[in-house]
Amino acid sequence: MSLAHDDRDNLYPGHLGCPGCGEVIGLKLVLQAVGKQAIAVVIPGCIGIVIGPYPFSTFKIPFFHAAFETAAATAAGISNALLAKGDEETIVVALAGDGGTADIGIQSLSGAADRDENIIYCCFDNEAYMNTGIQVSSATPQLAWTMTTPLGKPGRKKNMVEIMAAHHIPYVATACSCFPDDLRRKITEAKQIKGTKYIHILSPCPTGWRFPERLTPNIGRLAVETKYFPLYEIRNGREVRITHKPKDLPVEDYLSAQGRFKHLTKDDLDRIKKEIDRNWDELKRREDQSSHS
């Protein structure tokens, strides 16, 4: 019997991420789909640890661990350098967290998208600044506990997906690290397109969301199946396509499994349910409109 690692892997084992990390699952899947002819940009965050300490790298492709707010600009610089050298094959992929995307990095991301730079930008959304110890970010969902919002975040989650769609870049998609084939397909799709591609990947975090580490697959599946985090694509800012038909499970199943939501009242739940239904109806309406125009 000769047991071997998955030969699709574009990462080496031996990283210092938390056991049960949902973000690293997504990273692994993205890199599988991206392949070997690629250069990655990484910024401070959980992935900044997963890359390993000098002189050891967990990546099988080259990467540059750039300054926090510069993921998109750094990726754009590499992309233009490659084009200037006549290289149209090498993929440039930015691997950023939600803080580095929606907060401090939003300017450079918007700038790159505005210029339609030829990069694949992946936002690994674990819904807070997890690497520095669970502090709130604009991607933290409303009412969630974090170390800096101990009573729950008062404001809502910033909708980066719609912000990016408003740039009318060729491809925007949501994905979840617990839907591997869907995520890989979306990266493969992005590779075929020229211009800025933005993939928003929900990454369950046992450490910050407060659930037992082995349940990461369930938390990710529930997020999507309860319609809390729908999986869909938007092309050129207008054509919406839902890529997974959810089972429509009750959202309590998703929320009650996480310690960061354990203080939610019944009123909170009702409000959340109403909002989820409204968002889903609107998404379906946009999808219908897209298929008719």
């Binding site: 019997m1 047991l3 990462l11 031996g14 210092l16 591997p180 580490e213 697959p217 369930n218």
Partner: protein
């Protein structure tokens, strides 16, 4: 590495942080407190099946388009899938984990589809006549056929003796052809006999000239069944007017029952079979057929689908009446008086007690009466030391008798009287005989190949132990061990049946089976509980890239150096193949 000197502008060491080495040296598994183990387990359907067919493995093969391989998996335990796929009472479906999710999988229809459309030639797979021993099998019903098949594929020479004109026993003489077409039956039998089994028809043991006595065999398997229908009221009427259901079904044309009012007494499959056969003999005119039994509708031993189809066909069924008296007057019809009754059934022994209730009575008139209230064995003296009594022969649970080389199986040894159970009993006989001839302990062997705590076991595992050895037969996967987040609801597919008005005019098969599109659907509905299907969820979900695979053998393991023991693989596996156990490796630090 040292810094460059001030005198030279060449800069090499510590130029800038660029890394060329990989991270494998970081043994992130050193703090692990649990480790994953990969073991196939038994599904509930397999455990419930008396024959112990590896149902998930067959579905898995079929899901890859390998229908012939799927049929082979069935044939590893059950030589008669075409029959079970039509008439089995499907205890597999009653225990199917999917029924707690949306609806059970149509496993029986799948078995039928395989046997009807796939090909498997067992002759190439088994060592025919490789052993020197010779075994006699007496009685060619499902038990005898099963025993013959399993013994022949083990390499033994088998002589199959049948008293009647044709092979099949109850399969031919007890199950009507609208349920089990004779072409199918013949095909299934031929598959068994093709393994080099010698058959002797019209053979009356003891009297037959071809019989050389039990000494010419190394072992004998007796499965003559319960061939006699129990009679009732016979003292009160002549044989021209009253017969047993079994006698009727063995030769429906013989009794001139195409006309006249018929009263059927009994609530089991034989009684229903008689009624539905009669209506077909009469090309659909069912008005003069009445079935009366003491059981309530729910208590009737006949399969619910049989009862439903009979009612659709216009058969009158009266429940809760027990026959008391019979009057026969010259020139006039028979009159049977019934009283109100209740039935008490002992689930363990299957024994039934009929209790008259109250004073209400009913009288029914009939030209002929058919009685189908149970069966007994034909008493028979096989030899000096061994005789079959009305209630069969005493055996232990492996079919062994007090005489070392005599084994018994089938309806005769009591217990459930379904086809699947008879086939299982024949398999048990083959196991007992093999152990007897090879000097093995049948108790120990049975335990090794048994599923959970049920009477079913794997004969395939007995003759070809799993080299990969990663199925744990003692672990059965329950519904709450499945991760249903990975499955999506979809309705069960049911086969079409002929319209009642049409079908009662012929003996054409009522159930048309599933279409291939429907079968594809059922194949994907099957969860394949406890059987690894290479879905690779474990590989996809492992955050530490620590699941290992042997692609050629389809086996899995984990990277001891790097697995952190987070347990995600055990949750990501939808079918409970991966479990976490306490890490005992001393090289791993204690928490």
């Amino acid at each position: 590495m040292a810094l460059p000197s001030r005198s030279s502008p060449n800069i090499h060491d510590f130029f800038s942080a660029v890394s060329f080495r990989d991270s494998l040296a970081f043994k992130t598994g050193s703090q692990r407190s649990e480790r994953p183990i990969f073991t196939n387990k038994v599904s509930r359907c397999r455990q419930a099946c008396p024959i112990g067919i590896d149902i998930p493995a067959a579905f898995h093969k079929a899901s890859k388009g390998e229908f012939d391989e799927a049929l082979k998996i069935y044939l590893q335990e059950n030589p008669l899938p075409g029959i079970c796929g039509r008439v089995c009472y499907h205890p597999c479906e009653l225990d199917c984990n999917r029924k707690d999710f949306d609806d059970s999988v149509n496993i029986r229809s799948f078995e039928r589809f395989l046997s009807d459309h796939a090909r498997a030639d067992m002759r190439n797979e088994v060592p025919i006549h490789s052993k020197k021993e010779k075994i006699a099998v007496i009685g060619s019903g499902p038990a005898g056929l099963s025993a013959s098949y399993h013994l022949a594929r083990s390499g033994y020479s088998v002589c199959l003796f049948e008293a009647r004109r044709e092979i099949g026993g109850m399969l031919r003489y007890g199950i009507p052809s609208y349920r089990l077409p004779r072409t199918i039956l013949d095909r299934e039998i031929e598959r068994i006999l093709s393994l080099g089994i010698e058959t002797y028809l019209n053979a009356d043991i003891g009297k037959d000239s071809r019989w050389n006595g039990f000494e010419s065999f190394d072992a004998v398997f007796i499965s003559t069944g319960l061939q006699l229908g129990k009679m009732l009221l016979e003292k009160e009427a002549s044989k021209d007017f009253i017969l047993t259901g079994l006698d009727f079904l063995a030769n429906p044309q013989e009794y001139g029952l195409e006309k006249g009012k018929i009263l059927i007494i009994g609530g089991g499959n034989v009684a229903i079979g008689v009624a539905r056969t009669l209506i077909r003999l009469r090309r659909g005119r069912g008005k003069e057929i009445t079935l009366v039994c003491p059981e309530s509708r729910d208590q009737m031993p006949a399969l619910p689908e049989e009862i439903r189809e009979a009612l659709e066909e216009g058969i009158t069924i009266l429940n809760g009446w027990a026959p008391q008296k019979l009057h026969q007057r010259k020139g006039k019809r028979l009159a049977v008086e019934f009283c109100r009754a209740e039935v008490e059934r002992d689930e363990a022994t299957g024994r039934v007690r009929i209790i008259p209730v109250g004073k209400e009575t009913q009288k029914h008139f009939a030209d002929k009466i058919i009685v189908a209230i149970g069966q007994t064995a034909r008493p028979f003296q096989l030899s000096e030391n061994i005789s079959i009594k009305e209630d069969g022969i005493a055996t232990d649970r492996f079919g062994r008798t007090s005489l070392p080389k005599f084994f018994v199986g089938g309806d005769m040894i009591g217990g459930k009287a379904f086809v699947a159970d008879a086939i299982a009993s024949g398999k048990m006989g083959a196991l007992a005989i093999s152990c007897f001839l090879e000097g093995k302990d049948v108790e120990a062997e049975f335990q090794r190949h048994q599923f959970g705590d049920r009477p079913s076991f794997s004969f395939e595992h007995f003759i070809a132990p799993d080299e990969k050895n990663w199925t744990d037969f003692k672990k059965v996967v329950s519904f709450d061990q499945m991760n249903t987040l990975f499955f999506y609801e979809s309705p069960r597919n049911n086969p079409d049946r002929l319209e009642a008005a049409e079908r009662i005019r012929t003996f054409e098969e009522v159930n048309s089976g599933l279409t291939s599109r429907q079968v594809e659907d059922e194949i994907s509905r099957c969860f394949k509980c406890g059987t690894c299907i290479d879905c690779e969820n474990c590989l996809d979900f492992c955050p530490d890239l620590s699941i290992l695979k042997d692609a050629r053998l389809g086996l899995y393991g984990f990277d001891e150096d790097h697995c952190k023991g987070c347990g995600i693989c055990s949750v990501a596996c939808p079918r409970n193949v991966v479990e976490m156990v306490i890490e005992k490796n001393e090289n791993v630090l204690d928490r």
